[in-house]
Symmetry: C2
Subunit: 471 residues, 2 copies
């Protein structure tokens, strides 16, 4: 929930006037609880939360600054819910959801949104799949009708499925294949999660993506899509009751899907052996290190632990006054970058990440040992009262500043609701952050920043004669 | 298929007069193709291979040295066929198969075998589950009746399932929990297989074993057990046709199980980043290194590649005249042990392993770099004609010497048939080994002993104050 941008994020901008879909939203949505909670607290926004009789949950966030509304539908299904061997399917289905229904042929929904001057986007993560539109307020019902229609009415033929498979393969190539840091992140995740499906790339393993079929997509759609597997978040110039009525008139007509079951993924065994890996790639210009530790998410943490990890990540590695940056990049200096991040937003176990690049002439091993020394110092001596206060104030302030974007607001609630948190949890986030003590931060560092819980990835330039062929 | 005993094997003796079940048969059954093939060639044994109309395959290996018969039934199901999150179930079911049917209450089968002076055992691997009895020839039909009965007639109650779960938990404790090398092997497998279920321990992840239920076991049993998922191997003083008649009279009466489908597991993505891990354990007296490379099994290899890997493993690391032992333990000497092994017997991708312990005063890193130099030399300069001939002769000779054990013979055929090979493949193994050239051995080393395909595990003594608590 730190505002630090994690490395290797595969997120693309949310507010795009082209349909630019995004994957692996971990980094951006990590701010979910933080920002919307703060805004609720500070501006006194009253969030409404309804559940229709078919199980669909509706969250309404009033935002009257302009006559626009952001409509987001979130499905409780992500790559971690895929069947082993059929990876990439959650994201592939996200693409295919634009392929039309009996009522509305391919492209019609997007065309309508464009015609009314709206924007749309879609995204897939480990834990969820979401679709959103930002439209003039009076068009909300239109959008709801379209979304309700494609919740159960999707029609797919090989003629649309197979070309779209080439699209996601090209996306994989761009996002991962041609991006050494993303490849490193993929390898780290695969080595970090020994049993949990978070080890599987959101976009999928390429050799499995190549085999994805229409039948795979339809089976997945029928198993996971339905009102009782969805949350609709609406932020904008709307009245809660009236919005609920619109939802009843559209989504309310859809039958519950009895195939949708609570999500229960395999858990990690206790991590006992620190791991490392090295990726050599000809395109690397700057060596890079990323260490990922298995830590609790908000949903899996003991009370207060996730908040302590937020504060710890901020003190350790957010911005130029953080411990890591100050020590490694300014005081010594051995690094050109050094940072840390924590993602509280996961249905299951999550990650705490430390990363950066050494200066020319400094090895990754030296960088690592300097970073380890900074971490060791926090563990042995804790953090100062001053650091603690600055971190907490900054986390809460950042959350307030960030509320200006309606889509971001909607997205934060949605992500929280997809990953085991409730509206109340989002709203109480600032008070929980305020309550974090220096002792809790030190305890979190001692307990969770244990190398046995970690994978360290080294990204280096491949200078071998075969390098070009490989990459 | 080298005769080298791999480290960390979880195999227990096959011929035991107590029911001692075994797990992770990789090491011993690795010799499957080798030995029985040689025996077939050299002693002119005629193997018979039948398939009953319900799909059950029957292999009869004549062995007239004594009036005894070894009866083995192999089911095409192992830990790699388990549902993620329910690990250990194949092995748990193996235990539960002794819990009785409507016809024969718990313990009756074992008691009958003991009364007639027989022996019995059972074993589970990644790819298969097997049960065997060695009895006087005239008792063969009795044994077949019992096995046919429990193929579909197993009855389970919580009263027998829950105590047996404690038995497998204790087994996990003994085999893995209290065995640092086995723990290292478990961690290496988990880090080596990023997508394929071979990364899952055969005995299961402990936290999942603790949840295994009667319903899990019965569902697994109903899905995987049946005549069309089984191979019966009979070695002994029997006539093929008469044996087939016995099989028809017993197994032949069982209905085909339509739930049994061809096994198709998720495949590995191309390995691109060498990995390493370190396990520290207070009980380690001698530091130990194990490197595992992903390589093809017999079933997945191009023609001749698996045989070249056999020969390579022998030259590199089998016995005191191997390259690794000679260089590291005799010439330098920096090691107390150094060896290599290859397991050709896997339905999917397999492993080539290099392992050993440095002398006191030599670090694991030095040991590793010396071992790497030995491997690099084979890659750059190949192997000598003399080495090649010695390795091939020895592999074939070992196979001949090993045929004396009837159970071993039966087991080799069974393991081969469970992992994508046929009776013919077993029989032709010696000629395929004879055909391996020095260039093929060098090519195999160059192609497959690429560090990017590997995980290196370091086992060290944990000397921290918390060490005792941890282990």
């Amino acid at each position: 929930m730190s505002f630090t941008q994690m490395p290797c994020t595969q997120e693309s901008p949310v507010n795009s006037n082209r349909r630019r879909r995004s994957i692996g939203a971990a980094a951006l949505v990590a701010t979910a609880l933080a920002v919307s909670a703060a805004s609720a607290q500070t501006s006194g926004i009253k969030i409404s939360d309804f559940t229709l009789s078919n199980g669909l949950e509706l969250v309404v966030i009033p935002d009257r600054r302009a006559p626009v509304v952001t409509h987001m539908i979130w499905y409780k299904v992500g790559s971690a819910d895929e069947t082993p061997g059929i990876s990439g399917l959650a994201h592939f289905l996200e693409h295919l959801m634009f392929k039309g229904t009996a009522k509305h042929p391919t492209g019609e929904f997007s065309k309508v949104v464009a015609t009314i001057g709206g924007q749309e986007n879609a995204f897939t993560s480990n834990d969820y799949t979401g679709y959103y539109q930002r439209v003039p307020t009076e068009q909300l019902k239109t959008v709801m009708e379209f979304e309700a229609d494609r919740m159960t009415g999707l029609q797919l033929t090989d003629a649309v499925v197979l070309p779209e498979r080439n699209v996601i393969l090209e996306e994989q190539n761009q996002r991962i294949g041609n991006n050494p840091r993303a490849k490193l992140g993929e390898q780290i995740d695969a080595a970090l999660f020994l049993n949990h499906p978070y080890g599987r790339p959101v976009i999928g393993w390429r050799h499995e993506m190549e085999q994805l079929s229409r039948d795979d997509a339809l089976a997945f759609y029928r198993r996971f899509y339905g009102p009782n597997g969805a949350v609709v978040v609406i932020a904008g110039d709307v009245e809660p009751e009236q919005t609920r009525k619109l939802a009843e008139e559209t989504y309310g007509k859809i039958k519950r899907n009895d195939l949708i079951a609570p999500r229960k993924r395999p858990l990690e065994p206790p991590p006992i052996a620190p791991r490392s890996l090295t990726l050599a790639d000809a395109r690397v210009e700057q060596p890079f290190l990323q260490r990922a530790y298995l830590v609790p998410s908000f949903a899996t943490a003991q009370r207060g632990e996730s908040e302590a990890l937020e504060v710890l990540a901020h003190i350790l590695g957010s911005g130029s006054s953080s411990r890591l940056y100050r020590t490694l990049a300014v005081d010594k200096p051995v690094a050109v970058s050094a940072a840390a991040g924590y993602d509280s937003s996961a249905l299951d176990i999550s990650k705490f990440t430390v990363y950066g690049s050494p200066r020319p002439g400094v090895t990754l091993q030296q960088f690592e040992s300097e970073a380890d020394a900074v971490i060791a110092e926090v563990i042995s001596k804790g953090v100062s009262a001053d650091e603690l206060e600055r971190a907490k104030s900054r986390l809460i302030a950042d959350a307030i500043y960030a509320q200006d974007n309606q889509a971001t607001m909607a997205r934060w609630y949605g992500a929280a609701l997809m990953t085991g948190a409730g509206v109340q949890d989002v709203q109480r986030w600032p008070e929980r952050i305020r309550a974090v003590t220096a002792a809790e931060v030190q305890d979190a560092a001692r307990k969770w920043l244990d190398k046995r819980r970690s994978v360290t990835g080294f990204l280096i330039k491949d200078t071998s004669p075969q390098a070009e062929k490989r990459s």
